[in-house]
Symmetry: C2
Subunit: 451 residues, 2 copies
Amino acid sequence: MPKPEPALMKDITALCKRRGIIYPSSEIYGGFANTWDYGPYGVLLKNNVKKIWWEDMVMKRTDIVGLDSAILMNPKIWEASGHLTQFTDPLIECKKCHARFRIEQSLDKCPTCQAIELTEAKQFNLMFKTYVGPEESGTNTVYLRPETAQGIFANFKNVLDSTRVKLPFGIAQIGKAFRNEITPGNFTFRTLEFEQFELEYFIYPKDADTEFKTWRQARLDWYVGLGINKHKLRLQDHEQAKLAHYAKAVSDIEYKFPFGWSELEGIANRGDYDLSQHQKFSGQDLQYFNEDTKEKILPYVIEPSGGVDRATLAFLVDAYSKEKVNKSSPPAGGGAGGGGSEVRTVLKLHPKLAPIKVAILPLVKKDPELVKMAKGIYEELKQNFFVEYDEDGTVGKRYRRQDEIGTPFCITIDSDSLTDKTVTIRHRDSMQQERINSAELGDWLKDKLNS
Amino acid sequence: MPKPEPALMKDITALCKRRGIIYPSSEIYGGFANTWDYGPYGVLLKNNVKKIWWEDMVMKRTDIVGLDSAILMNPKIWEASGHLTQFTDPLIECKKCHARFRIEQSLDKCPTCQAIELTEAKQFNLMFKTYVGPEESGTNTVYLRPETAQGIFANFKNVLDSTRVKLPFGIAQIGKAFRNEITPGNFTFRTLEFEQFELEYFIYPKDADTEFKTWRQARLDWYVGLGINKHKLRLQDHEQAKLAHYAKAVSDIEYKFPFGWSELEGIANRGDYDLSQHQKFSGQDLQYFNEDTKEKILPYVIEPSGGVDRATLAFLVDAYSKEKVNKSSPPAGGGAGGGGSEVRTVLKLHPKLAPIKVAILPLVKKDPELVKMAKGIYEELKQNFFVEYDEDGTVGKRYRRQDEIGTPFCITIDSDSLTDKTVTIRHRDSMQQERINSAELGDWLKDKLNS
């Protein structure tokens, strides 16, 4: 029987903590406001998500350049973008203890002090505020960016002036953003501080519908290509009547989390809203000069905007599985070994995403020759890959440890290895084993990680 | 005659803007408080700095794991670390206009309004403050971290409990930090928002002096290994009497910038200050259990703490050169071509650091066969490397463009290439050219980038 789903999130959260993937932040001080820290394996997983996105967007494409703009920017940017006036949540306040709550809760009394007098809903801005310089006054107020996108629009002219980009072209960015929300939790899904990967793809206005459809599909395919079960992904188009003020069309990529279908990434046709606002507020000419027609135009933009933490969580949740296996022997025929007597937890992460690509396990830790050979292989492989050396406990126990952090390949070195220089590769998902020459390991691994 | 050095920084800043390396942040709105954005080439350069540090610290070593902790943490962390009380600057305030200034300026009147009545110096905390939740009150106050290090100490127990680390071991982290300083500018050297690479290397207390010396040297060597002129680097030991409250010994790695010798990285022996403070303030046992002696101890820590932006700036400044070259022909004997008639600007970046590894230049843009071959090479190489395709202008002009962004290799495809499949590789620094078979390009490049 499948586990009730809240329990499943609990299991995944516990595994993440136990195995050094994700910890509650500031935990020794009782934690902090739905904030999480990535542990030794989690940071490698998250880095892989960012690296793959960056390579797919910037390195492998001919038409997209990168950018890394600051978190603290001139506050006029948020005036122009509309965030200062429109990026708000309606909140209800308790007249007695002044605690504030989301309107969706439909309260009859204050959940904090039980008083019954509550105010009408008022709008509160979701941007975190701080002050530059020692004085805490209006003129010194700045905001932690609530999205990385505006840093791209603010640099549109700089990129045009300093590179050879031609329409259509994109500017891609990965970075932290902050939203002062009352969050429902759900592990790392919604947090005050989060990382985004955002692409602003500038186009001729006439191509907007086509490009919107192309990007919507391309971004969905990206998640599938990295191993997410396609039946747990869907595209949800926003209704025209409910679109945000800046958008002409929006479609969300949703993943079926244990807590329900939830947004991983939004693809929006933002028209020329942002560039025209910044043109108006800055007084600068942000038009693109078309060298063929000799005309100046304000491009439209298609924005695929995703959450790095959300993508990472979706990869984790989708990869998480528990299965019965026989304790000692691998299953016949390459299946995952149903019907066995022991349960293993395994993260079936795509090899490109796996934090550790391969673990080196000497069969016997007390044999110096064997340990020497194992360490030699380890030293060599870790010049190019994230590799782990593990001699603690039985091989079965070591396999389980590597399964739980998603290591796709375990290499055992045994007494035969000393004579014939071959080693055993054990595949995480099938638990099948194969024997290969140790000198070929580097190429074998490179091949597996690029396919 | 060498250029006066302030003019040199101006030249480098201008090059960075013109070539898409670093832009003034929020520039269309008149900029913002010594903040800078990394453009298409700058983000690749900075990413390379981070990637190399991460690979050298985490991937290639057996004894260091990574971490990625949050920027917003439980404020008790800053109480324990001493930042809430001790991380301050003394400032003088104008009694008339309330502008505040650093004490070092020794003012006789207010530089803003010219009033002569100024207060005595008062301490102002350098942490940026913000509020979680809609209320701006004391209990909701949190801080933007002024260093990434405390996120490591706060997770020390989690890492011990969830991984197999054994003393000595390190925890490495790269991330943003924020300091509300009155900054003197100097391009990206000192900014309100900056990125750190920090390593906390935990050791047995008896090994502190040895480890301190080892790390001091290792970190100096790291910069030299990435091409920085070793005569422009020095180690400066702090005087024992002037050490910060948490430190038993500190040594700075300084680079000779045009604005003077300035700190790139500090190596500190922090003793057990941080762990003992967090133990005291959190009430948690943060001791390490030594399985051999069965004793519990509080480890000492050696901290090499560097600035990613500062390292990036040092690499840029050190790589920047202007030299006279002959317009058409490469210099004989591999020299940089002194005594020529034209001046070229070139960033002699280490190939590992260079934003673009290779540029593909078809000699004639109107020859479809030649363009087809050039694009084929481009398409293939950019699956694995950051590569640029450039057919705009004369080859000489294209070389200069690539020189200015530090591209180590340019590949030209000419009519001979169509028949014999060879291409010309032009080396950035020597401007020497060699002819190689186009099928070997990928391996040739891999080899050059790994040496």
